[in-house]
Symmetry: C2
Subunit: 243 residues, 2 copies
């Protein structure tokens, strides 16, 4: 198919493709994807972020690019938006008429939109492309995984709870079934330390990150505490991943 050839052509110019997966929503996947992009860009590498969460695109707002829209050039290529530290960003939100409208699309339409995004966004030469995947292992995730599986790697994000462990483990098995090597797992929202009296609380108790790493034989990349500043920085994104 025409689209698949165009995707292979585009992706051949990107050295490292990393999908950020979790299976469960609300664990901080978008926050981690944006933080990794910022951390990588600060080392001088060229970086892009693709927000593939059609129903809940949050990358533009996290990167301070709210309200932008994208343009296509005469050849039909879509030019991504330039964010902080020259990071190139593309999100389905840039194509929607307004941020308010719910995207009420069924599977085949979503898959088509994903293929178009992968084929038509002109990233140029990139060192790293981070792809923020939606929750679940449905159409969007499957389409991206099938198109990129030859040379993408995955970083998995979880919160510590038992509920999260059971669902995020499915996402790790999904990557294995599709032949996507898993770099490791990040445990987000791990504990909160009261700034006043220094008492540590396990607001989301559990050790899902460590247990999934052990059970699925993947690397535990570290944890990020619950921190109100994460939300205050949304828009400027200066928070970093703690290894």
């Amino acid at each position: 198919r025409r689209l698949v050839n165009a995707i292979n052509e585009r992706m051949s110019k990107v050295k490292h493709k990393i999908v950020i997966v979790s299976g469960k929503g609300g664990v901080g996947k978008s926050f981690v994807a944006a933080s990794l992009a910022v951390a990588t860009a600060m080392t001088g590498r060229s970086v892009g972020v693709l927000d593939a969460d059609i129903h809940g695109p949050s990358i533009p707002r996290i990167m301070g690019l709210n309200g932008y829209s994208v343009f296509a050039d005469i050849n039909g290529n879509i030019i991504p938006v330039e964010g902080p530290l020259n990071i190139l960003v593309f999100s389905v939100q840039f194509l929607l008429p307004s941020e308010d409208s719910p995207v009420i699309w069924r599977g085949p339409l979503k898959s088509r939109a994903i293929l178009e995004m992968l084929a038509r966004v002109n990233w140029g030469e990139l060192d790293y492309l981070y792809i923020d995947l939606p929750p679940g292992t449905g159409d969007e995730v499957l389409t991206i995984a099938q198109q990129l599986s030859r040379n993408a790697r995955a970083i998995v994000v979880t919160i510590p709870t038992e509920l999260s462990r059971v669902i995020v483990r499915k996402a790790v098995k999904f990557c294995k079934q599709l032949g996507i090597p898993v770099i490791g797992i990040v445990e987000n929202m791990k504990g909160f330390t009261c700034p006043k009296c220094n008492t540590y609380y396990d607001i989301f108790p559990g050790d899902a990150g460590i247990r999934i790493a052990r059970e699925e034989n993947i690397e535990y990349l570290g944890s990020i505490p619950l921190d109100p500043r994460v939300n205050e920085y949304t828009g400027r994104n200066q928070t970093f991943l703690q290894k």
Copy 2:
């Protein structure tokens, strides 16, 4: 179609059908659905919970029904599992071979599974049926909304953050577009008070619940604080919604 007639027949025996929606994952939709079911059952009414989150079913574990499976009777009806306080529970998890296996289904297969669930699970006469919807406004949500829209109502769940406000507002508009009256919105994970020094922290800062209620002209049903006990009770579910 045969399936649609069977669904209408089943649903005609249920007095109140309430869908729990959020659009965004990880806001506590399953926790709120289970809490509402427990609170309603304690008033002596007959209650059911349908977990329609195919990729991330967490209702069984929250209700302490982990590891159960369901049986079909000679007519092909599926008998739901009986949980605490005689609450009837059905989840796609009861049909899967193991809790570990990711469900890698595309839209049409998911919609078919949802229709079969609605048609074949034999709830009998029920006062209330709570339906926990997955994140997004894709196939599962659309199929259920279209089948039940004549007489279901919605309760929306959000966390306080700005990111959540933008995405959860789409879910409210989705309900309006499909003609599903919205009972109101619950704001979950609102603030954490240090038990030791009594300092209040906005770990997820913002006022998404109040603003969506005002902008979309729906009722603000109240807030639930971040509380580690929510996770400790998973399995026994004794936590209640604070109005």
